[in-house]
Symmetry: C2
Subunit: 202 residues, 2 copies
């Protein structure tokens, strides 16, 4: 799925993309932002979680709370990286970086390897995610293909030269691989439940 914001004028900006296993809507629980929507891309299987139930779950499984907070934190780090990319990378590098990052995330849930992965994103959606026009997305993908770096056709992303991609896009191999440098403590104590309670009322 993807979450995006619509602007008056009809354009939209995709903020981030959700993949299988992701927890959706963490951001909007605490701070509802206007004009923010989510949309399915491929067939989705999802479970709705009531805040109430989530709080209970935190009681019985304290580490869940910590994990979820960490996920929220990681999501924000990705938004920041996204921001940097749009602000300071050109279209080609931006695309390469995006495809690598998506691959890295899919790899964590065994839906990608260094060879490539399946990906149903349309070029229009890529355009809205990367702040480009659909036409230019197409051109950039062709260039990357001609350079032998990646191929993105028929719903498949195939890396031709993975290391070349990493080098070209200046991708930081670290930033999604680890489990969080501060997650190493003993942990296990309760829990985010009180915080959420304080925010939302019992």
């Amino acid at each position: 799925m993807c979450s995006y914001k619509l602007l008056p004028g009809g354009t939209r900006q995709v903020v981030d993309v959700q993949i299988p296993g992701d927890f959706l809507g963490l951001r909007s629980v605490l701070f509802r932002t206007a004009g923010h929507n989510i949309e399915p891309i491929s067939r989705v299987q999802a479970s709705e979680v009531q805040v109430r139930d989530l709080l209970e779950a935190f009681q019985t499984a304290p580490r869940l709370a910590a994990t979820l907070l960490w996920a929220a934190s990681r999501d924000e780090a990705m938004v920041v990286e996204h921001l940097v990319g749009i602000g300071r990378r050109d279209a080609k590098q931006r695309m390469a970086h995006f495809l690598l990052e998506l691959g890295a995330r899919l790899k964590l849930v065994r839906l990608a390897s260094n060879d490539g992965y399946n990906c149903q994103l349309t070029q229009y959606l890529l355009a809205d995610a990367l702040g480009l026009s659909a036409v230019h997305v197409n051109r950039v993908l062709r260039e990357l293909r001609e350079d032998g770096l990646v191929t993105f056709q028929q719903g498949k992303v195939t890396f031709g030269d993975f290391d070349g991609m990493v080098a070209f896009s200046e991708f930081d191999r670290q930033y999604l691989d680890h489990d969080g440098p501060l997650m190493t403590g003993p942990g296990g104590s309760p829990s985010a439940v009180q915080v959420l309670t304080a925010m939302t009322g019992p």
Copy 2:
């Protein structure tokens, strides 16, 4: 102050700007991102807070935890808005939106009114924040001045036509004014302390 990321190649992207009263470094507590730095802009008065002390403070002042979490959430919302602006607004609108948003935040701590505010940001810094070149920042500021919308000279931002600015930049008056739609519950129960403990170890 401002927090930014440096890219190989010498360019940088300013992610957000801190104003008096802001809590700094919430993001990096949980998830350290590479190449992320902060830098003072004007003379800064700051207190360093040890995570340890923060946790204790949460014990005695539970609402502090909730407030801080809300602040973190608001910061993320601003980053998202920033992302949208860079991705889908042209330079002029982006600048107008940025100046309004900064004004709205400063108003909350009584450092701005609808007339304007003091602002020591250089055009180079604006450029790095908005994903533009310094030269173009200058051009855009001149255009906005000639349109009678804002003047930004000698460290002073002066709104010539506040409503015009809001309309032109499609600024959402809501999104920083309220105290958070979900902050309305009774609240007051403890606290973020356990969460942070779980993340960092005791």
